[in-house]
């Protein structure tokens, strides 16, 4: 059952990613990305990361992707035109990506035995486990991230403001 769930939602991920690649209109790509993110949330659950799964849905799909959608709407991004692009992207890029995927797959599969096998329901990490670490050992980085978000807000407002 674990395997079946994994395969289904893994397929959703890959399908969504491929759709992002193949769609011409950016809004379609955005929606596909939402599918990917939600499927990933399920996969996190399967791996025992409850807080992260929820955070993924709320933060990523719910906030970031909505932000993307707003911007697409704001800028009235239309269908992609066929622009004369750079050859180098195809010449160098595709081999690069291909090498990447083949290499990584090969590595991970050939060392399959070095990794453990995940069982459903074991080693669940709860929110309290996470907060134990976050608010004791990593208190400073936690506070710094809040400052970081503040700065990001200010920066975004300053950059996107209309010039008078």
């Amino acid at each position: 059952m674990h395997l079946a769930l994994f395969i289904i939602f893994g397929a959703f991920c890959i399908a969504g990613a491929l759709n992002l690649l193949l769609q011409r209109h950016p809004i379609n790509s955005a929606l596909s990305l939402i599918v990917v993110m939600t499927s990933l949330a399920v996969l996190y659950l399967l791996l025992g990361a409850e807080f992260l799964a929820v955070a993924q849905v709320i933060v990523y799909s719910g906030a970031i992707m909505v932000l993307f959608t707003f911007v697409i709407m704001l800028l009235n991004a239309g269908k992609e035109e066929r622009t004369h692009g750079s050859k180098m992207a195809y010449v160098a890029g595709f081999p690069g990506a291909a090498i990447l995927v083949c290499l990584l797959t090969f590595i991970f599969l050939s060392h399959k035995g070095d990794f453990a096998k995940a069982r459903l329901g074991e080693y669940l990490v709860t929110t309290s486990d996470l907060s134990q670490v976050l608010f004791t050992k990593l208190l400073l980085p936690f506070e710094v991230t809040s400052v970081l978000i503040l700065i990001a807000i200010l920066g975004a407002v300053a950059l996107a403001r209309k010039e008078h």
């Binding site: 180098m88 992207a89 160098a92 890029g93 081999p95 690069g96 090498i99 990447l100 290499l103």
Partner: protein
């Protein structure tokens, strides 16, 4: 010890050079002349003062102005020294130099570049005085090079004239070849004696009486090479005839009286080295004798009055070398002194003739000038008799002394050298009287030549004035006129010296006291050869006089009594005549053997092959490579984000692969 302030002697002319060189162009002629004459007069007065103080001096009198080079154990100083030999040279250089400066005021009066001329003349005086006063080889070399430079500047004075520029360059280059010899000699001296100071080197040689031959011969031969370059002996004499392109006072001062005698002075100065090397002395003697003979033969066929005198100078310098070569250094120096008098006089008088004829130098169109320019005629006559060796004039005394010393010298070739020298004396007499007759006697050929055609080849050797007017000589309008007294004055003084100048060295054998020979010999530490006798000397003197008379007689016949004779002889001996007239084709031989290969190597091998082919190509290749690589690499910076991303992806993948498969792992492990 009295301080003679010897450094002032060269420095005043140098100051004159600076003043005239820097501000002379705008200054009025009178100022330029005054500066130049003061620059020549003051050294003369100072030399006179040295002579006045002679008895208070211990000779050699050295004044050291400070260290110049100090390198380890070696040091060379700015040191001036006076001894008898220096004093002789100083008197000649400053005295004759001053007279020629006075003469030049008149001769160069109408030239543009008047200021330049006098600046260079003062510069020449500065260097020559440095050469003569130097206490070590290095300072002498400074003067040596400097007079070469001044000679170049003055020969090429009419720099717009191509032949003059070439002649200046030729003189400098031939001098340079000789200077290599001087330099090599200096290097060997440093290597063997660790010093270049005359006193130290000579003391070391003197202390070691076993020192003979070997490297001393090498040093001496290198010095001889330098001397042949400067004093125009075989094989480096070819620049002197061409040097006649310069103004006549230059020929008088530099190429007759002073610069060309620097080689002889140098041999006399370094006689300590030469005395230890019989081989070198023989070489000197043979070179001197051969050059004397050779130049005299060429001189008898020349048609330009200055060329005759140039070859005569080469020939007489050969006599001086001959004198030094048989270790009769005082005789050689004595001939240097008397030669300075009559050769300078000859050149200046020739200049007066040329001036009278408004620029004509070719003897074939002269003649009949005796009545028209009497002062010039009589002074030149004195010089002609002096150089031909008629007693009791100065030339006879010095030349006869050399010939006598050659005859009685212990070297095996002495008699042969004497015979050749005697024959050359006859030739000397012949060509000088030839010049005398052609210039002053007979009917004037001047008007006829000018009537024939203007600007023909006959006018080829003109003493060109630096004006912008067209060429035709402005002689017709002026007519033949005597020179002004500013020019004639020096002529008269030199004529008097030519006549009586020999009397200070009248030989012992002919009932004289030879004051000069004994005085200078004591100073140098040499002695005249023994082995002769009074009667032998008297006999040889009579033979010399007879030969001189014979030369006069032949010239009289050929050029006065039967003027058509030279033509006929030239026709019948056409091959020989042609050979001699063209100076034995030596210039051409040198051109083919030396100059053409060198130019070929420079132009093709070095210029095209190496300079352009290798070095330029190498430099350009580096440039093009950098450009090419840069162009290639610049394509990465396209400004296009996607291409950047493409490169990023590719190289990230490669890095990953490399790190996994271990190519870079060993970098980290170590």
């Amino acid at each position: 010890m009295t301080d003679l302030h010897l450094w002032l002697i060269p420095l005043v002319p140098f100051a004159g050079f600076l003043v005239n060189g820097l501000v002379g162009r705008k200054a009025p002629k009178a100022v330029v002349s005054a500066v130049a004459l003061i620059g020549a007069l003051i050294p003369m007065l100072q030399v006179a003062w040295v002579v006045w103080n002679y008895h208070a001096l211990t000779l050699p009198h050295v004044e050291n102005l400070g260290t110049w080079i100090r390198a380890g154990a070696f040091h060379a100083d700015f040191a001036f020294a006076v001894d008898q030999l220096t004093l002789v040279m100083l008197c000649v250089v400053t005295g004759v130099g001053f007279l020629i400066h006075v003469y030049s005021v008149g001769y160069m009066a109408e030239e543009d570049g008047y200021w330049r001329f006098f600046a260079y003349m003062n510069l020449f005086l500065f260097f020559m005085l440095t050469l003569v006063l130097a206490e070590n080889f290095l300072l002498m070399f400074v003067g040596w090079e400097g007079v070469g430079l001044a000679s170049y500047l003055l020969i090429g004075f009419y720099y717009t004239k191509d032949s003059a520029a070439k002649a200046g360059r030729k003189a400098f280059l031939y001098n340079r070849v000789g200077d290599v010899g001087f330099l090599l000699a200096m290097f060997m001296l440093i290597a063997h004696f660790g010093s270049l100071s005359f006193s130290e080197v000579f003391a070391k040689i003197g202390a070691d009486s076993a020192l003979q031959g070997g490297f001393l011969t090498a040093i001496a031969l290198f010095l001889v090479l330098g001397a042949t370059g400067k004093s125009a002996q075989i094989p480096l004499y070819l620049w002197l005839p061409d040097a006649m392109e310069g103004p006549t006072p230059v020929s008088a001062l530099i190429h007759a009286a002073t610069m060309v005698t620097a080689g002889v002075y140098m041999i006399a100065r370094t006689h300590v080295i030469f005395d230890r090397s019989p081989l070198a002395l023989s070489v000197v003697a043979i070179i001197g004798c051969a050059t004397a003979f050779f130049a005299a033969t060429v001189g008898i066929t020349q048609t330009d009055i200055k060329r005759v005198l140039a070859y005569s100078t080469v020939s007489q310098l050969g006599y001086m070398f001959l004198g030094c070569g048989v270790a009769a250094y005082t005789a050689g120096i004595f001939h240097l002194v008397t030669h300075a008098f009559f050769k300078a006089l000859l050149f200046l008088a020739a200049g007066s003739v040329i001036h009278a004829l408004s620029g004509e130098q070719d003897m074939r169109v002269m003649g009949g000038l005796r009545k028209k320019i009497p002062v010039t005629f009589w002074t030149m006559t004195a010089a002609v008799f002096a150089i031909s060796g008629f007693p009791p004039l100065s030339g006879f005394v010095s030349k006869d002394e050399i010939l006598y010393q050659t005859f009685i010298s212990p070297s095996p070739a002495g008699k042969i050298l004497w015979a050749v020298g005697l024959f050359t004396a006859g030739l000397t007499s012949f060509y000088m009287f030839r010049l005398w007759y052609l210039t002053f006697f007979g009917k004037s050929r001047l008007e006829q030549a000018h009537l024939d055609d203007h600007g023909a080849a006959v006018h080829a050797h003109k003493d060109t004035k630096l004006t912008l007017e067209a060429e035709p000589a402005h002689g017709h309008a002026h007519g033949v006129h005597e020179s002004p007294w500013v020019m004639l004055g020096p002529l008269v003084i030199l004529a008097i010296l030519s006549v009586i100048g020999g009397w200070i060295g009248w030989p012992d054998g002919l009932w004289g006291s030879n004051w000069f020979g004994h005085w200078l010999g004591a100073g140098l530490g040499t002695s005249e050869g023994a082995g002769g006798s009074r009667s032998l000397e008297f006999m040889l003197a009579c033979v010399s006089t007879a030969v001189a008379l014979a030369g006069w007689l032949v010239a009289h016949v050929m050029y006065y009594a039967k003027p058509e004779l030279p033509e006929r002889m030239a026709q019948s001996l056409r091959a020989v005549y042609g050979l001699v007239k063209n100076k034995y084709w030596v210039d051409e031989i040198y051109g083919a053997l030396v100059i053409t290969p060198v130019l070929f190597i420079a132009r093709y091998l070095l210029n095209v092959l190496i300079d352009r082919g290798v070095i330029d190509v190498g430099g350009m290749a580096a440039g093009y490579t950098a450009q090419g690589v840069g162009a290639l690499v610049a394509r990465i910076q396209s400004g296009n984000i996607r291409s950047y991303a493409g490169w990023l992806a590719l190289f990230a993948a490669l890095l990953l692969a490399a790190s996994y498969f271990g190519w870079t792992a060993h970098f980290w492990v170590r």
